[in-house]
């Protein structure tokens, strides 16, 4: 089946199966909706294409996953950020978890039975992952984790978490675990964001016991795991995110009458550029199966495009962001984080300077 045939068949199916969200915009309702959409798409097979058979997939090119995500985003079926977590965490499990663990767990994520989170950032190390200090030490056949994570997306709703810990000094001393969130000793404190949503949480680990078979990779593989995971955060997820942003541009066009075409055009050009770049990234991923620091370019383009779009919306819909309690307000405010989340634009530029322009150390 070609990508085009797949898309046509999927669209037909989605036309016949109404998965539209209810009007409830609470975080709980949004996540329940994400689960409902994943469940339906999984049961009908769509969600299983592009994933290997070992984890319950139906095979086929990974590109098919981008197609499913684009349709979900374009139709507004699920909150885009939460939906796209599958693209970050499932590939990581496939690459690093023991095969039996991946086979058991990945279908739970894909089928909407569970949400997972990613425990990377800490109060003392945001984008500077190498400085993380959450500690894991061996105790008998288990490991014991102590420390604190911050900016952990969806932690209060998650069943499991991929946690980076320190087991020795330096880059080579970072070790990843797949932790059940109901393990005794884990405390989650939700963080309210400026757009009024419980998006993130602080997660405290106090003598949290994790069996050794929940280690992802081997001791010291955590840094490499993070380096492999981050390009996933900036590839298929961004194809979904770009599709979502296009729906917002369409809404903006529908709302505006006599407008500044230059500003509207600039927002469109930024989104178009992001989408063209994101498509090239998708084809590189399809050809080589691996991505690297070049995805930092996608991240900078995304941050710029997202903020340009919502700045334009605020300009062309005067009063909407400031006076109305609607989606333009929350999405505008959320867009302020586009140059921060997933590694700030400054960190991305540092990576571009060092790794792509070969400018040496800063």
């Amino acid at each position: 089946m070609s990508v085009t045939e797949f898309r046509v068949a999927l669209r037909l199916w989605l036309d016949e199966h109404d998965l539209s969200p209810t009007g409830d915009r609470s975080r709980e309702a949004e996540l329940a909706q994400v689960s409902r959409v994943r469940r339906a798409l999984y049961d009908a097979g769509w969600m299983r294409y592009g994933w290997p058979a070992e984890v319950g997939g139906l095979g086929g090119p990974a590109l098919l996953r981008a197609v499913v995500g684009e349709e979900v985003a374009t139709r507004g079926l699920a909150e885009p950020g939460a939906y796209s977590m599958i693209e970050v965490l499932a590939p990581t499990m496939i690459s690093y978890a023991a095969p039996e663990l991946a086979a058991e767990m990945v279908p739970r994520l894909l089928s909407g039975a569970e949400h997972w989170c990613q425990g990377f950032s800490e109060p003392g190390s945001g984008s500077d992952l190498a400085s993380l200090s959450t500690r894991a030490r061996r105790r008998g056949g288990d490991w014991v984790i102590d420390g604190q994570k911050l900016w952990t997306g969806l932690a209060q709703f998650a069943t499991r978490c991929v946690v980076l810990t320190r087991t020795a000094p330096g880059h080579g001393g970072i070790t990843a675990f797949f932790v059940d969130m109901d393990t005794p000793g884990i405390t989650v404190r939700p963080l309210r964001t400026m757009h009024g949503v419980d998006d993130f949480a602080e997660v405290f680990f106090d003598d949290v016991i994790v069996p050794a078979d929940r280690m992802l990779g081997r001791p010291g593989d955590g840094w490499q795991l993070a380096m492999d995971l981050l390009p996933h955060e900036r590839s298929t997820c961004f194809w979904h995110r770009g599709a979502h942003l296009f729906t917002r541009l369409d809404r903006l066009i529908a709302r505006t009458t006599p407008v500044d075409d230059a500003e509207l055009g600039a927002a469109y050009l930024a989104l178009h550029t992001l989408r063209c770049r994101s498509r090239l990234t998708q084809s590189r991923l399809a050809e080589h199966g691996r991505l690297g620091p070049e995805t930092s370019i996608d991240k900078v383009l995304l941050g710029t495009a997202e903020q340009t779009l919502f700045d334009t919306a605020r300009d062309l819909l005067p009063g909407e962001v400031e006076l109305n309690d609607g989606e333009w307000r929350t999405e505008f405010l959320y867009s302020r984080a586009a140059t921060i989340y997933g590694g700030t634009s400054e960190i991305q530029r540092n990576i571009i300077a060092r790794r792509l322009l070969d400018l040496g150390k800063d």
């Binding site: 990508v3 898309r7 590109l63 981008a66 197609v67 684009e70 194809w239 599709a243 296009f246 541009l249 369409d250 066009i253 529908a254 505006t256 407008v259 500044d260 075409d261 230059a262 500003e263 509207l264 055009g265 600039a266 469109y268 050009l269 989104l271 178009h272 550029t273 992001l274 989408r275 063209c276 770049r277 994101s278 498509r279 090239l280 998708q282 070049e294 370019i297 900078v300 383009l301 400054e346 991305q348 530029r349 540092n350 571009i352 300077a353 060092r354 792509l356 322009l357 400018l359 040496g360 150390k361 800063d362």
Partner: protein, 268 residues
Amino acid sequence: MIVDGPELALLAGTLRRTMATTSGPALDRALYRLGWPDMLVEIPEIAVPLVFRLLGETGAQASVLNDVVRHAAGAPLPGEAVPLPFAGGSWVVWERDVETVSTTTFSVVDRELPLRRTGTGEQPPLAAGRRALGWWLIGAGRAMLALARQHALDRKQFGRPLASFQAVRHRLAETLVALEGAEATMHTAGDEFGAMLAKAAAGQAASTAARHCQQVLGGIGFTDEHDLHRHIRRVLVLDGLLGSSRELTRQAGASIRTRGSAPRLAQL
């Protein structure tokens, strides 16, 4: 004519060497000897990016945009220069036979280009020409980035290379982001609208490159002795040709407003 792999690398090498030593009418003749018209007709998707991007990277110039526009209009090759629209409703001709015309009317900002104003012309097909200019602008942007990057590595201030200062690194990184983004749009420039967006993105990226690279080069980048200004002047003119990035962006905005939605040109 099949050009791929090593054959393409060989052709690119030959073109680069030729452009390093030849420019203007002599380069026109050299390109014709290398089979440019046949390449344009038979393998435009390879020949146009290759030739125009190399013009940008080497800083050479030739009047081959005329061939691209003529060919798109179904006119025979070789042939005379065609009037081309320029930003602000002006019209220009990129002279081919420079020995016979007065150079006093040529572009003032980039004196190397035999470009002169003319009255109105007949609107030529624009997409192919805009794609060619897009590649040229990106090539010029990459040339500027290469100059600024080398300077940042070589030049020391306060006891360490410029390249170690984050403010400098970030300007160069932003330049690469703009160029890579614009280059991505070139791969989605197959139709009229895509070519328009790509030319806008390329013009914008080249302007970004000019601004950041001149700042990184500091005083030396403002002098006549350094090569940078030649690329900056080139980019100023090429951006205006067949519509400036500003005009095309506004046109794109008007277009999506009229359509009522924003076309997703890039598809998986």
